[in-house]
Every structure is written in C-alpha cells, then in structure tokens.
C-alpha cells in the first residue's frame, strides 16, 4: 500500500516548472522535490490547497492510493 504523488504529471499538463511552482505556493524547491519524489511523510492541507489552486486541479489529481508496493508516503 502506498500513496503515489502524481505532481510531475500535473506540472507537465500545466507546463509549469518546479522552481516556478515552488515560488507560487511558497515552499522551497527542495521541499517540492521531496514531495515529487514520494519521500514526503505528510503534506499540509495548506500546501495541498496551494498546489490545487496553482495547478487548477483536485487533490485526487495529485495523490493516488495504490494497493501495490511498499508504503512510502
């Protein structure tokens, strides 16, 4: 079981770079990278809200639950 972060997919769809997105939502590029690579252990509602706002999407577009694989996020 794991949570898959599809942030890079949404970023590609909206044609936005990591640096620009990090600046817009007010987190560091390093933290955004942690989120993108699935190393994050938790995500704040405020960060999720800012991501959904900037990427014009729903939380479900960014996060996906999978039964396969080990728990990472």
């Amino acid at each position: 079981m794991k949570i898959i972060v599809n942030l890079d997919v949404m970023m590609a769809r909206r044609k936005i770079s990591a640096g620009e997105l990090a600046e817009r939502i007010g987190i560091t590029p390093a933290n955004l990278s942690v989120l993108k690579t699935g190393k994050a252990k938790a995500i704040r509602f405020s960060t999720l809200m800012a991501l959904c706002h900037e990427l014009r999407c729903q939380p479900g577009d960014i996060l996906e639950y999978s039964e396969d694989g080990e728990e990472k996020a």
Partner: protein, 149 residues
C-alpha cells in the same frame, strides 16, 4: 544578567572541565587521601588495595562519562540536539553510571556507606536512560516533521 542557552551550555562545559580537574587530582593524589580516608572512616587498613581498586575502577567510568559529556555538549552547542550520535553518547553515559553502580555495590562488602554512591549512580543511570529514550522519540518526530511539506 543577559542569560541564554549558549551561555548555559558553556557553563555546563566549564563544570565538566572543573569536574575533570577534580577527578585528575583525586586520581593523582590517591596515595595521599586514600590512607587518610581509611583512617578517618575507620575501615580496616588491609582494605586499602580494595579501596584503591574501587576508586580507580570507578575513575575509569568517570573519565569515559566526562569525555562523552564533553562531546555531547560540543554537539549541542553546534546546534545538533536530536541526532543518533547524541543518543549514543547518552547510552555510553548511562552504561558508565551502571558500571559505577556495580563497582560501588560490590565495594559495600568492605565499606557499607558506598551503598549511597551506588544508589546515586543507579538512579542517575535511570534518569539518563529516560532522557535518551525521549531524544530517540524526538528524532523520529523530527524526521517526520522534516519530511512534512
């Protein structure tokens, strides 16, 4: 007085160095104060080698403990508090306290008041272990917090 946590760590470091100086003096001047201690505390003079063994064995634990405390304080003053290395330092200190506890407990056989030192060392071991467990828990919480975006 403008007091802050850096000065507090520095003060503790000074106390550690002072304690090391006292311990060094006690070790070097053992041949003077141990016979005096034997006569003052009415221990049989045949127990002088046993007393020396107790003091110098205890001294080994004390030196390891002081050196580890010094390294721990340096780590804390460098801003590294919740690290695995610090828990290792605390583990070493707790085992030194346990060692001293056993040494003085055995020494009760020829000088019963050593039971107080043994109990104090045992109690200190428990306190240090609790602090170590708290820091270990805090390390887990910190790593989780670090990975919260």
């Amino acid at each position: 007085m403008d007091w802050n946590k850096d000065k507090s760590v520095r003060l503790t470091t000074v106390f550690t160095i002072l304690l090391a100086a006292v311990l060094l003096a006690a070790d070097v001047l053992g041949f003077i104060w141990m016979p005096w201690f034997i006569s003052a505390s009415a221990i049989d003079s045949s127990h002088l080698p046993a007393l020396a063994a107790t003091i110098y064995t205890g001294s080994i634990f004390a030196w390891i403990c002081l050196y580890t405390m010094f390294r721990l304080l340096r780590s804390i003053s460098g801003g590294e508090v919740f690290t695995e290395q610090n828990t290792r330092f605390l583990r070493v200190i707790s085992w030194c306290c346990a060692g001293a506890c056993i040494v003085f407990l055995v020494s009760v056989l020829y000088y019963p008041p050593f039971l107080i030192i043994s109990a104090a060392a045992g109690f200190m071991m428990m306190i240090v272990r609790v602090v170590k467990n708290i820091i270990q828990q805090a390390i887990g919480m910190k790593s989780e917090l670090d990975l919260t975006v």
